[in-house]
Symmetry: C2
Subunit: 346 residues, 2 copies
């Protein structure tokens, strides 16, 4: 290591972002409401709140085209951005797509990628309005920026959780991570013996959750219909534990969650056992679920208590630091962010 | 070549974009005014026009850190986006930055990159409001999206030029391209003999134009002060000839330009001669000038005729197809887009 040289993996992604964000200084534009540090940026324009978010996916880091159909990759790269906008309680409206391609890719491959992007635009009712297409020396890079909006009275930041608020999560957790394990295993089997057919039919749900996640815009609509504004919200991209710690840090209080309340699909559980993985670790730290994690005031519990896809996993507590899991056996375990860290060496 | 496989370089960047854009179908959001095909996308929100543009720069394709200081790269990556917004006659307000880094980069290098981004934000009075930071397996990728706005009565597309309009260009042309030649030569000299000191002091203006281009937001303010709205506009990223052909295609008429009217700095001219390059080719096809190319109605000529940095290089003509150059010798030469094509094999 050189003198005066700090490796990125010494700080990690979040440490690096904190360090860079600390130098930014005050905003120059009167419309800028929120910069780095939530699911999206927030800009006020004519009394109206706009949301902006960006995500970059690189081949060999975030996806492997040897098992990821390129059309699904297009779909997923839109979903992850729409999910960020949903996590502000907002609605995505437009995206721009920047794409870098090596000459390994044919026009037909790019068209398949765009077909997936288009399908996502159709499903989410958004427009692809611009982009940049350029060459790459090493594989595919896709960077999408999504623009959306939200009513001022409905915007939901990471920092609004109050003592006693109920912590909710949508869908089920850990499936995308187990899907990745299945796909990686089948790839190794295939590399060892190309005549072997991949055996993923049985794991279809898991593979689907990994390859083609759906942003929970349905939940945003339903909450709106119920006139329920969560007190804080984040989407689950890095894993439940990591996201709980984000809500904790931003809201200035802790969370207690209960093992027996965590939603998991049977297939996820069984496959984790088959892979000799601890199911609870997959649920807490798996990542890429793109479900919504949010807090609600206790008074709002009645209106969602029977919702089939919203699960009440714990509550906010000023007496807890960070997050703790109460196991089925009654033990208390501190939550750690073991989420994705793509920086090598960490 | 595989059957049914079309290589990207058969279509080129613009051909590929045309093909992808053709499949997009109608807009789903009522606010979307303009998608792919101009300097930025245009979205209407509460009677207000928003501009969105994105650009991705990859190490080894768009920049070479062996002579490009990483701080300048940060500055440049902002400038190219602000320039696109200026080319719509708009003002940039915010940017989001997606960054991918290999472990070759230290935290200090990333901080230097951000220092350049910050300096540009300061100069352009914009806010860095968000981003994504991730790992890369091969060098640095930087993707910036800029958001801006423009009054409805002032927006300037590529398609508004009318027969007889005067074609104007700001600044001088070809300097950024010659700067690249100088930097590449010095790199080769250095590689051959590491004891040699780079000799770029003499070429400082050219190197500066290549490494730290300034978006012409000053011109946008001045045109606004003069109450002059160009009839069409584009920024010069791919070279004058290529941009003229864009205005031609979009506006449905041709352009005549005059060799003796093309603005060139003495240093650019002399260096082209020194490098045994045709200065006129550098001016027409050099690229990366990030000057503004626009048309004005003849009635507006009086108000800008004495502007020291706006040059009148020709006019729009329904009788011309594409663009033609009238040489000093009185010959007529068709303009060809020989601009940047980063796709290998083309």
């Amino acid at each position: 290591m050189n003198k005066g040289r700090t490796e990125i993996n010494q700080l990690g992604e979040f440490g690096l972002i904190d360090r860079l964000a600390a130098d930014l200084g005050p905003f120059r534009q009167s419309g800028t409401r929120k910069g780095i540090g939530d699911d999206t940026a927030v800009v006020e324009s004519q009394g109206h709140l706009q949301l902006i978010t960006t995500d970059m996916l690189l081949e060999g880091v975030h996806f492997d085209l040897s098992y990821m159909p390129i059309m699904h990759l297009g779909y997923k790269s839109v979903s992850v951005n729409v999910s960020d906008i949903a996590a502000m309680n907002g609605t995505a409206r437009q995206i721009v797509v920047a794409l870098a391609l090596s000459n390994r890719f044919s026009v037909e491959a790019v068209e398949a990628l765009y077909k997936g992007i288009q399908q996502a635009c159709e499903d989410y009712k958004i427009d692809l309005v611009g982009g940049d297409t350029t060459a790459s020396r090493s594989g595919l890079v896709i960077s999408i920026t999504a623009i959306g909006d939200v009513e001022t009275s409905k915007i939901t930041y990471r920092n609004g959780a109050k003592d006693g608020d109920i912590l909710c999560v949508t869908g089920d957790l850990g499936a995308a991570y187990m899907g990745l394990q299945v796909l990686e295993r089948e790839k190794q089997v295939f590399l060892a013996n190309p005549d072997m057919q991949p055996d993923i039919e049985k794991y279809k749900y898991l593979a689907q959750r990994q390859m083609k996640p759906i942003a929970r815009t349905d939940i945003i609509h339903e909450l709106s219909d119920l006139n329920l504004v969560p007190t804080s919200m984040i989407d689950i991209s890095d894993g439940l534990a990591s996201e709980i710690l984000h809500l904790s840090k931003n809201s200035g209080l802790g969370f207690k969650i209960y093992e027996d309340k965590l939603p998991v699909d049977q297939m996820t559980y069984q496959t984790a056992v088959e892979f000799k993985l601890d199911p609870i670790t997959c649920i807490l730290n798996g990542g890429e679920d793109y479900e919504l994690l949010f807090t609600i005031d206790q008074k709002d519990y009645e209106s969602v208590k029977n919702h089939p896809d919203i699960h009440f996993i714990g509550y906010a507590s000023a007496e807890v630091e960070g997050g703790v899991l109460i196991t089925k056996g009654g033990n208390t375990v501190s939550l750690k962010a073991q989420g994705w860290n793509h920086f090598p060496g960490n």
